[in-house]
């Protein structure tokens, strides 16, 4: 009986995973949980881990995420540089340091609303992938069975598993949870925001997944018959060039630019004292004249993941002496 349930469950997971991408389902659930937690407890994700498990324990996920996300940041900056290269024809190596500098300036000087809403608005360009599929005549019927019964070429199982791991790793990014949680705090979410949280998690993450799936389908429609396996980003843009010509390839470069820029900006938020947190807390510091509030606010600013526990203790002590 248990075995039967297991096989049914596995069948469902396979079908759902193929249809919507298992990573997306996972990130929807995680984002919804983190948003709900923050709305109800009024604590950010990072804050809760540190307070409930202690700063020493907190160093473990902090260190591992810092390493993983740093590697991802390098790739995201590279994505922005490659997008600029596709626009200009100049090597992306030339753009890379300027992109890094630009992202740094953007994070420290641009208002939070711009960084939060700008990429979200510009990200609508990914809808062009769907338009591309429609322009090519829609999804062919023979593509659907591959959702629940993928076919492998001989000897490519490890490649396929690597791809699965890469997709899951790229979709379920820890920084996203920190960023979302900070945003919920920033917007002063409460128990009445739970519906908004659920809709944001499902629609927002679902939209991102739809863009990824649309690009995969475009690749299957255009590139696979040409024996192109998309080892470089420029090759992927050829899938958009077929239905829309130059405009299509430049739309692809635009999507690459916007998504990589927004991802690298969000990472910086998380890693360098999460600007969204400090912004709201700066407001709190300015407004709160109650010494207890000030102490809490300054402690929260020191929530920055780059500060050590010694610095935290020292700052809290200094703050206590000043006000009490």
């Amino acid at each position: 009986m248990n075995k039967q349930w297991l096989s049914i469950a596995l069948g469902l997971v396979t079908a759902t995973g193929g249809f919507l991408d298992a990573g997306t389902v996972a990130i929807i659930l995680l984002v919804e949980m983190v948003g709900r937690f923050t709305a109800v407890s009024k604590k950010t994700y990072a804050e809760a881990i540190r307070e409930d498990f202690g700063f020493r324990f907190y160093l473990l996920p902090l260190a591992s995420e810092l390493i993983a996300e740093s590697l991802m940041l390098a790739a995201e900056l590279g994505g922005v540089a490659i997008a600029l290269s596709l626009f200009t024809g100049i090597s992306w190596h030339t753009f890379y340091p300027f992109v890094a500098l630009f992202v740094w300036v953007l994070v420290w000087r641009a208002p939070f609303d711009l960084i939060e809403n700008g990429p979200a608005f510009l990200g609508l360009v990914t809808l062009s992938f769907l338009a591309g599929i429609v322009a090519l005549g829609g999804i062919p019927v023979q593509l659907f069975p591959t959702l629940w019964h993928p076919t492998f070429q001989q000897g490519t199982v490890t490649d396929y598993l690597y791809l699965v791991a890469a997709i899951l790793g790229a979709t379920i990014s820890p920084y996203l949870l920190y960023f979302y949680s900070s945003g919920a705090r920033e917007e002063h979410w409460s128990g009445s925001s739970l519906l908004l949280n659920r809709v944001t998690a499902i629609v927002g993450m679902g939209f991102g997944s739809m863009g990824s799936l649309a690009l995969l389908v475009l690749g299957a429609l255009v590139l696979q018959p040409l024996n192109i396996s998309s080892n470089t980003l420029g090759e992927l843009g050829l899938a958009m060039a077929k239905p829309f010509g130059i405009v299509g390839s430049l739309l692809f470069a635009s999507v690459l630019f916007v998504t990589c820029l927004s991802a690298s900006s969000c990472w910086r938020f998380w890693s360098l004292s999460s600007h969204c947190r400090s912004r709201s807390l700066r407001v709190e510091v300015n407004m709160a004249r109650d010494p207890q509030d000030d102490a809490r606010s300054i402690r929260d600013i020191l929530d920055s993941q780059l500060l050590t526990s010694d610095m935290l203790e020292e700052a809290t002590r200094a703050n206590s002496q000043r006000f009490w």
Binding site: I82, S85, L86, F87, T88, G89, I90, S91, W92, T151, F152, Q153, Q154, G155, T156, V157, T158, D159, L226, N227, I228, S229, S230, N231, T232, L233, G234, E235, G237, L238, A241, K242, G245, I246, G248, S249, L250, A253
Partner: protein, 116 residues
Amino acid sequence: MTACDVNESPFARMAGTIGSALAAAATTLTYAHEGKISDNYAASSFMEYQHELNGTAEALTASSDVDRHTLQHLLAVYIPAQRIVDAPCLSSSCDWRGQVEALSRASEAFLKASST
């Protein structure tokens, strides 16, 4: 899917990668001349293909799991293709169709070698 063939041989993997890169180069060149992508886009893409194919001839020569006859055939079609990738004809004044043909021929040879 067979449980025995989990991994491709290094040569099959390399041949598949080269074949795919050359197919992409041929399509890029065609699209550039058909006005489907800009010259800048094509130039940037070719820089990536150059990077991807860098050192391939040496790796092919050093490959041990391929017979000499196949290797000589692959090198014979690869070397002119690599020259095209290094200096693609993006203007209408040169024989871009000939370049596309050479790239496609080399791509097919490598893809065939990767699947045997």
